[in-house]
């Protein structure tokens, strides 16, 4: 039996809290539909949603969420957006600590507000723009795995295949325990131990 588990594309089934998913995409429309479904599912389960976006305008994200049937009050706190440069590089340089501390604070705050948890997505295009080394990126993703064990945020890392080369994508796959592929959440057969995953060290290439 293949070591692959799937769940439905619309995330109607429970995603395990603390799951770290990798989403490789090249179709914007498909991505928008996928991410809207992801947040709609989380909100339906009482979670708070945070989308860390690259160049999108927060208003456009909210509009799409509404198009998906998720309605928001004017002062609704169930969903928000944040720019990825501010989240990953709050002081101008990539800072995994700041990012993860921020995620933890958000999670705790959400819980304090009465939410059941936090659904978090992060567009990783900033890494190409900022020429982040593959090794540094892989180490961050490995740390995320460890972080999520203590802070069970449901997280999706979004990688635009139009911006990363083939080798990088494969190495990124190695550090994500689950993936969104073809509309399915699958357990990642390429997932390897952290020490094996950090064997590369190449720089990201566009």
């Amino acid at each position: 039996m293949p070591d692959i588990e799937t769940t439905s594309f619309d995330f109607s089934e429970l995603l395990p809290a603390g799951m770290h998913l990798c989403y490789i995409y090249s179709d914007d429309a498909e991505r928008e539909q996928t991410m809207a479904a992801f947040f709609a599912s989380g909100i339906a389960r009482g979670q708070k949603g945070l989308s860390i976006v690259d160049t999108e305008h927060p208003h456009d994200v909210l509009t799409r969420m509404k198009d998906m049937g998720v309605t928001f009050a004017e002062d609704d706190r169930r969903f928000s957006t944040a720019p990825n440069d501010g989240a990953y590089c709050p002081h101008g340089a990539f800072s995994p600590d700041d990012m993860l501390n921020g995620a933890q604070a958000l999670y705790e705050h959400a819980r304090g507000e009465g939410f059941s948890g936090l659904s978090l997505s992060g567009d990783m295009s900033w890494a190409v723009r900022r020429k982040i080394g593959l090794d540094e990126l892989l180490r961050y993703e490995v740390r995320v795995n460890e972080f999520l064990k203590a802070c069970p945020v449901t997280a999706i890392c979004e990688y635009d295949a139009r911006k990363f080369d083939g080798k990088t994508i494969m190495d990124i796959l190695n550090v994500h325990p689950a993936m969104l592929v073809g509309g399915h959440v699958v357990r990642n057969p390429y997932f390897v131990r952290p020490e094996d995953a950090l064997d590369g060290g190449e720089h990201l290439r566009h």
């Binding site: 039996m1 070591d3 692959i4 090249s26 179709d27 295949a161 139009r162 796959l173 057969p189 390429y190």
Partner: protein
């Protein structure tokens, strides 16, 4: 022990192959796919090395992707049985996957999955190529659409601008047309536009003002001909002339030559009009220049010129006539002094004097007619003047003249001859207004006018004279113009009679008005300021002939006049010396003064043919002898010097012809003495 010929497939490896296959859809370029797949296959169990050799769908250079990772992989070695799996679609081979495993035989179990992966790789590359082609096609289409849209937008913009410009042009044209139409409408020349079907298309305001016709009156050219030229014979002649002119104009492509026609207006009046025109696009634009007033003015000017020359002639005749009369009247008056009060001789002399005085009046009228000069006013009673002048003017006409002046005098300070002329003009007009006979009523009375009762006259006492007839009357429309110079409704009138009357009355500080109703007659009323009746009564008494003594210098170029004046003066007791012109008179005056026997009075003729007249001589005499006493005498009784003699230094006026008593009165008035002593007696 027999080895199992079918190696087992590791489910985890199978999962990787499936994940590779399903993730390929996100990959973009052959290089990316090659690197991704090579690296993914490298992680399959037992794989030593993987090499993908690939070309793009466009036949680009071969890309070689290797799956080795670091030294650990390169340290291993395959079993010498590498797999080579083509990357191909049904249409094209893109390359191959070359895979070396530690145990080639065992790896064969994965071959179908790797082949499936290779097919997916081929399909992905092919799809991407199609997508790029489609994208380029779309971009081309979009570019074409953009270009076309831009062209359309530019065309629309041009169209919008053109529409805007046309709107502006249309507005400008409409405004221009309106302005032009307004201009034509306001043109001071009558215009008419006739179309090719002889339908009247347009008449401007001036046309209707001049001729009275509107579009409703003359909807066609035919109607115009019949209304404007009701006489069939004249109409035929006019149409023939106009047609000939139009034909000639058409042949020469020029204006229809102006021609003069007499047009009957809507109210029946006739107007002399110069008609010209121009044909264009089958239509005719006709212009009408109204010559009526101009011709009337020209005729009036001719009349005036005739009158002026006639007046000059009449004045000359009257002057000479007065000189002749002076000889007759002067001698008769002296003869009358000698004749007994009874007897035939005395009657004969009186009748001769009366006839001479009548002749003097006629000469005066000639002078008034010739010059219209300033009045030579005196205190007179208008009552006898009315009786005499009206009776004289009505004589010979078919009308009966009834004169009522009451019992009291009607005193005015006026020029008797000019008033006579007024009365005679009004009476003659009245008689002409009654060609079949009727009654002319002349009425004179003293009236009191309140201030503002008859502007512009101030309040006061006036002599009112009325001349009334029961004739045809004057149309109401003509009344405002009745005193205008040259206005006349008579076929032979020159239009000056009433104008002269008006002028004379105004110069006397009076007023003349008219009331009339067609068919009921006309009444002219004039008001003249009245004076104290006693002044008239005193002047009416014949002054006695008063004698005197001293020397009188007479200056006149007419020997007969000089002779009779010498006789009269000598009869009155004076010593007389006569000269023929001003220069001689000045010399004689100076000589006498130098000799200590000066002249006490100089009587000078105003006009000396070819020599110095009385006016210049008086001017020179006054320079040397400021106290000179002089009387001006002339047959030109209306000359300004005669009217205002004191301005020129003269102390009296002696109008020719004169009688002995006239000379006596004037000399006495000038010398202020009961017994006159002029110079040395």
């Amino acid at each position: 022990m027999i080895a199992d010929p079918t190696p087992l497939v590791d489910p985890r490896a199978l999962g990787k192959l499936l994940l590779l296959q399903t993730t390929l859809h996100a990959m973009q370029t052959p290089e990316q796919i090659g690197d991704f797949v090579a690296r993914g296959l490298q992680k399959l169990p037992g794989v030593v090395s993987v090499t993908l050799r690939m070309r793009g769908a466009d036949g680009s250079a071969e890309h070689v992707a290797r799956g080795e990772i670091g030294d650990a992989a390169s340290a291993r070695a395959g079993d010498g049985l590498p797999l080579s799996i083509p990357i191909a679609s049904v249409r094209r081979v893109f390359g191959s996957i070359e895979l070396d495993a530690e145990d080639g035989a065992a790896f064969l179990a994965y071959r179908p999955f790797v082949e499936s992966l290779a097919n997916t790789v081929a399909l992905t590359i092919e799809n991407r190529a199609h997508e790029r082609a489609l994208s380029q096609l779309n971009e081309g289409l979009e570019s074409a659409v953009r270009d076309r849209t831009a062209d359309l937008r530019a065309a629309n913009e041009n169209l919008r601008r053109e529409i805007g410009e046309r709107k502006l042009a249309k507005t400008a044209l409409r405004e221009g047309e309106a302005r032009f139409r307004r201009l034509v409408q306001l043109m001071p020349i009558p215009l008419a536009l006739v179309d090719a079907q002889s339908e009247m298309q347009y008449l401007n305001d001036r046309f209707s003002q001049v001729f009275g016709y509107t579009m409703e009156d003359i909807p066609t050219f035919h109607d115009w001909w019949h209304r404007a030229f009701p006489d069939a014979e004249y109409r035929a002649a006019v149409k023939a002339r106009f047609a000939a002119a139009a034909e000639k104009a058409a042949l020469t492509n020029s204006l229809i030559r102006p021609d003069e026609y007499r047009i009957t207006c809507r109210d029946g009046t006739l107007r002399d009009v110069e008609v010209s025109g121009i044909g264009f696009d089958g239509e005719l634009l006709a212009t009408f220049v109204d010559l009526t007033d101009r011709k009337r003015e020209e005729a009036a000017l001719q009349t005036l010129q005739k009158l002026e020359s006639l007046g000059t002639l009449a004045g000359g005749i009257a002057h000479d006539f007065n000189n002749v009369l002076t000889g007759i009247l002067g001698n008769l008056s002296m003869l009358s002094e000698r004749a007994t009060d009874t007897g035939d001789e005395s009657d004969l002399v009186r009748e001769a004097i009366a006839a001479s005085l009548t002749a003097r009046g006629l000469a005066q009228q000639l002078l008034t007619f010739s010059s219209g000069g300033n009045p030579i006013s005196a205190n007179i009673d208008v009552a006898p003047l009315l009786r005499i002048a009206a009776g004289f003017a009505a004589r010979g006409s078919g009308a009966r003249c009834v004169i009522d002046t009451g019992d009291q005098p009607l005193p005015v300070y006026a020029d008797k001859d000019q008033l006579t002329q007024i009365v005679q003009n009004l009476v003659i007009n009245a008689s002409q207004a009654m060609p079949d006979g009727g009654t002319i009523t002349v009425h004179g009375a003293l009236v009191d006018l309140a201030a503002g009762e008859l502007p512009p006259l101030p309040g006061g006492r006036y002599v009112r004279c009325q001349v009334r007839d029961d004739g045809v009357g004057i149309p109401e429309a003509n009344l405002p113009r009745i005193f205008d110079p040259y206005f006349t409704t008579k076929s032979k009138g020159h239009g000056l009679g009433l104008a002269v009357c008006h002028s004379i009355v105004v110069k006397h500080g009076g007023h003349i008005g008219v009331e009339s109703r067609p068919g009921a007659g006309t009444c002219f009323t004039l008001h003249l300021p009245a004076i104290d009746p006693s002044a008239v009564a005193a002047s009416a008494c014949p002054a006695p002939v008063r004698t005197g003594s001293g020397r009188v210098l007479v200056m006149d170029d007419d020997v007969q006049v000089s002779r009779v004046l010498r006789r009269m003066l000598e009869r009155l007791g004076y010593r007389v010396e006569c000269t023929a012109d001003g220069a001689a008179a000045i010399a004689a005056y100076a000589s006498a003064d130098g000799a200590g026997d000066p002249f006490g009075l100089v009587i000078m003729d105003l006009t000396i043919a070819g020599g110095m007249g009385g006016r210049e001589a008086m001017t020179r005499l006054r320079v040397r002898f400021p106290e000179v006493r002089a009387v001006v005498s002339s047959g030109y009784g209306t000359d300004p010097v005669m009217a205002d003699a004191s301005i020129y230094g003269f102390r009296g006026v002696l109008a020719k012809p004169y009688r002995l008593e006239d000379v006596s009165r004037v000399v006495a008035a000038v010398t202020h003495g009961a017994r006159i002593a002029l110079g040395n007696p």
